[in-house]
């Protein structure tokens, strides 16, 4: 008798005719309930386009335990959602001293997740084409962090059209390249 994997460490697996879908629906609902955000209206994106605030020093300080709990819970969600890695990474940079605008941005991720709780990654079925092809995509953002002059880098890998590995990270080196 074969047993199909359906639930493992908060990750749920759904078997469809297109392939296997990995999602964290239950985890999301539990998380949003825990933070008492179930009544929010949902939004389509998880971050504002021009939300990069450089100066937040004069803003009100927030409870950092609450902030850490929030970021920690959302970070576990990055296991099944590639689009979250970037925002969660940015939010984690203020973990030691969260300000009001940081908490608002972090809560926005939760509100987004509430609306997008059904989304997951599909591992398509064997279609006999390009089965052995591993493709990497790399991108970087030059000097997005004005105060530290660090760049954010990201890469992802697709094997046989399925997303298998990804990373979004602040580069540990300061980029010097410039025309002058």
């Amino acid at each position: 008798m074969t047993y199909w994997l359906t639930y493992f460490l908060g990750l749920e697996f759904l078997y469809t005719d297109k392939g296997i879908l990995m999602h964290q629906r239950k985890y999301t609902i539990d998380m949003v309930k825990w933070f008492k955000m179930m009544d929010c209206n949902h939004i389509i994106t998880h971050s504002e386009l021009n939300s990069r605030k450089e100066e937040t020093k004069d803003e009100e300080k927030m409870d950092h335990t609450h902030y850490k709990q929030l970021i920690g819970s959302v970070r576990y969600h990055c296991n099944s959602r590639l689009d979250l890695s970037f925002v969660v990474g940015v939010a984690s940079r203020h973990m030691h001293e969260p300000r009001k605008s940081h908490l608002i941005a972090a809560k926005r991720i939760l509100i987004y997740l509430k609306g997008a709780k059904d989304l997951g990654i599909l591992f398509p079925k064997n279609t006999n084409e390009k089965m052995d092809e591993l493709i990497g995509y790399c991108d970087s953002d030059w000097c997005d962090n004005k105060s530290e002059r660090m760049s954010t880098t990201g890469y992802l890998f697709k094997l046989a059209r399925a997303l298998i590995s990804w990373c979004s990270k602040k580069q540990p080196v300061v980029a010097l390249s410039s025309l002058k």
């Binding site: 052995d132 591993l134 990497g136 094997l159 979004s168 390249s177």
Partner: protein
């Protein structure tokens, strides 16, 4: 001068794109070993899509010119792998680059398009 101005954005990004290429190639080689261990044969060379032509040329041509002298030696790992034909770097236009969502906040249409390309689907469909 006009030419220089037009390409300045690209050349400024050379270093960061080149470095991310190196990080990604380390990950690619690790993935390759891992897949071999679970008996999945991956076709060589592995393809890398980078949206910066300067970085691609820099990885392919073994030259050191004034604009790249300061890049640390350890980041030339990518170049080594390209030389050994383990990795092949190709250009991919910015609008088709799915890795964009990992580095910057993107517009809604772009966000949804990338999600579609990467096989992010709803479990209710």
């Amino acid at each position: 001068m006009v030419f220089q101005e037009a390409t300045s954005g690209g050349i400024v990004k050379l270093e960061v794109e080149y470095i991310v290429g190196t990080y990604a190639s380390c990950q690619a080689i690790w993935l390759d070993f891992l897949l071999k261990e679970i008996k999945v044969e991956v076709k060589r060379p592995l393809y890398f899509m980078i949206n910066n032509k300067f970085a691609i040329n820099h990885a392919k041509n073994l030259v050191a010119h004034g604009r790249s002298k300061h890049i640390e030696t350890r980041f030339h790992f990518l170049r080594e792998q390209v030389k050994k034909r383990i990795i092949e770097v190709t250009h991919c236009p910015t609008q088709d680059q799915p890795a964009n969502v990992l580095t910057k906040p993107v517009r809604v249409d772009r966000f949804l398009k990338t999600n579609g390309e990467l096989g992010v689907l709803s479990c209710l469909d």
